[in-house]
């Protein structure tokens, strides 16, 4: 594998690295959570991150998104190595994540949740909004149109003015994806996006995730327990067990790997 940080980032080169981890190690109070994890996600890929409970999948996502600081190792986004990664900086670099237990703002409407995602791209300062200048009104109108489009793409337009806490879990999950998509990210990090959904909802989510990649070329890294869904959705599977990568490759190859089967069945070497 080519050392990605030495390549100049080229937008149209599909082999260019979208996000890469270099020898990441992380421990909490003496407990090793991640050990020398390296991973290179190429632009436009859908990577499924799987592994048994406690394997370190969410921790890996938290390192990628700047929420956990690794003890050793580094993260590159678009081929640029970033030290002292912070969540805001990661977001500004075009990497947007969702949360396992939902990252929605409970006291706000669905539309306001999605509009909050636009904060990153706002060019008009708060004094303009304070005085409702023409610039502020124009930007606000454009944001609302874009937010309603994002909601419509996940069939959520009817819920725009509903308080998110009043919606069922599956719908809330969709709202979170809609908000992430409305931020026009280059990379989406999804932590169990299908958890707690019925088959119909799963189907809808899968096509929404796939369309993000197919239409906008968005790179996707997702943690998911439903192996059936991951096998059909992902271009590539990465398997974590006890903080290490034990397999990395095309879904069919990985699914047949004996180490992976052992990890899932619980036989310890």
């Amino acid at each position: 594998m080519a050392a990605p940080q030495t390549l100049a980032p080229q937008r149209d080169d599909p082999s260019c690295s979208a996000i890469a981890l270099h020898d990441i190690s992380l421990s909490f109070g003496g407990l090793d959570v991640l050990r020398d994890v390296s991973l290179d996600v190429r632009r436009g890929e859908i990577v499924g991150l799987i592994g048994p409970n406690g394997a370190g999948k969410s921790s890996l996502l938290n390192v990628m998104s700047g929420f956990y600081r690794a003890d050793r190792g580094g993260v590159s986004i678009d081929g640029t190595r970033l030290d002292r990664l912070r969540p805001q900086r990661v977001a500004r670099a075009g990497v947007v994540r969702t949360f396992q237990n939902l990252g929605l703002f409970a006291g706000m409407t669905v539309l306001d949740n999605v509009l909050t995602g636009h904060a990153l791209h706002g060019k008009v300062g708060w004094p303009h909004y304070l005085l409702r200048t023409r610039a502020a009104r124009t930007e606000d109108r454009r944001n609302r149109e874009a937010a309603l489009d994002a909601l419509a793409s996940l069939d959520l337009q009817d819920h725009a003015d509903t308080l998110v806490s009043a919606l069922p879990y599956g719908v809330q999950k969709r709202v979170e994806l809609a908000r992430a998509k409305a931020m026009t990210p280059q990379t989406l990090l999804l932590d169990e996006p299908l958890a707690g959904m019925n088959p119909d909802e799963k189907h809808e989510m899968v096509s929404a995730i796939r369309s993000a990649r197919d239409i906008r070329g968005t790179t996707v890294v997702l943690i998911e327990h439903d192996i059936g869904v991951v096998l059909t959705l992902a271009d590539r599977l990465v398997v974590l067990d006890r903080g290490r990568v034990i397999a990395d490759g095309p879904p069919t190859t990985v699914a047949a790997d004996s180490a992976v089967i052992a990890a899932y069945l619980g036989t310890r070497h």
Binding site: G29, S58, N62, F67, Y68, F99, Q100
Partner: protein
């Protein structure tokens, strides 16, 4: 130097009394995750009730028991009508509810017992005594001894017994505690009753020192910086912090007061708490926790 030490030790001794008030918070916080702003008004309520019973000729221990019973009844009522309907609500909502409680306690105490100041004599003399060459108040020493032994008893009760274990289990994970058969309501009532008992003892000592009056209710504001420095969950931390705040406040009043103005002790503890907060956000003995995301 001698004078400096006397100021320091006298401050530290009154700091133990701050700690005594703060322990009432810790008990409730550990058992139900509630930051109980009403702890100060519970002290007022307890002291006023006790002193009025004694003034009406009720014997000491009977008055003590009757006041304690009232506080336990209050614990039941608070659990049933305030905490239970507010379970699963945010910590700030619960805090605001205890602010409401403190208004009720203050209003009730003063409607029932009036607003005049009562003297309270516990039979502890207040004479200067010489300890290791330092001139100290015998009352302060006795109060410290009472407070100290109470602290040891509470630390033992909440640390070693089944009761202590269930108090901590409920605080750590209410759902898990529920699933192994602990009754949340009962644990909450016990914690609030214990806090009521601490309030009664604190009220008697403070009342004997400075009179039973409305200002007892304001001790809560002294206990708050102590809690922040000591951490909300550690009885040991709160004692150290109490001594620190008491000593610092007394030193500041004596040595800083003449330079920057009288009344420094009104805000000094908060300044100290802010310094600690910036340096150690989880308190002296608080544990660093990892946020699960």
């Amino acid at each position: 130097m001698q004078f400096f030490l006397e100021v320091l030790v006298a401050g530290a001794l009154s700091g133990v009394m701050y700690a005594l008030v703060a322990i009432g918070f810790v008990l409730i916080y550990r058992a139900s995750g509630v930051f109980n702003f009403a702890q100060g008004s519970m002290i007022l309520f307890a002291a006023l009730t006790f002193v009025n019973l004694v003034e009406r000729g009720v014997p000491f221990w009977l008055a003590f028991g009757a006041t304690l019973l009232l506080l336990i009844a209050a614990a039941f009522a608070i659990e049933r009508f305030v905490l239970r309907p507010l379970s699963n609500r945010s910590v700030i909502t619960l805090f605001l509810a205890t602010l409401g409680l403190s208004y009720i306690f203050e209003g009730l105490s003063q409607i029932a017992w009036g607003t005049q100041v009562h003297a309270l004599d516990l039979g502890i003399s207040d004479d200067p005594v010489s300890v290791a060459g330092l001139s100290l108040s015998s009352f302060d020493i006795a109060a410290t001894a009472i407070a100290g032994s109470l602290v040891v008893i509470l630390a033992l009760v909440t640390g070693k017994t089944n009761l202590g274990l269930s108090l901590r289990a409920v605080a750590a994970d209410p759902l898990a505690a529920l699933s192994i058969g602990l009754r949340l309501e009962r644990v909450t009532v016990i914690a609030w009753s214990l806090a009521g008992f601490v309030a009664l003892v604190a009220g008697l000592i403070w009342g004997a020192r400075s009179g039973v009056q409305f200002s007892l209710s304001l001790i809560v504001l002294k206990a708050l910086p102590v809690l922040i420095i000591g951490g909300f969950t550690s009885i040991g931390g709160v004692i150290v912090a109490g001594v620190l705040v008491g000593a610092g406040e007394n030193l500041a009043a004596i040595y800083l007061g003449p330079t920057i103005g009288n009344g420094v002790e009104g805000w000094f503890a908060y300044g100290l708490a802010l310094v600690f907060l910036m340096a150690r956000p989880t308190g002296l003995f608080g544990q660093r926790t990892w946020a699960r995301i």
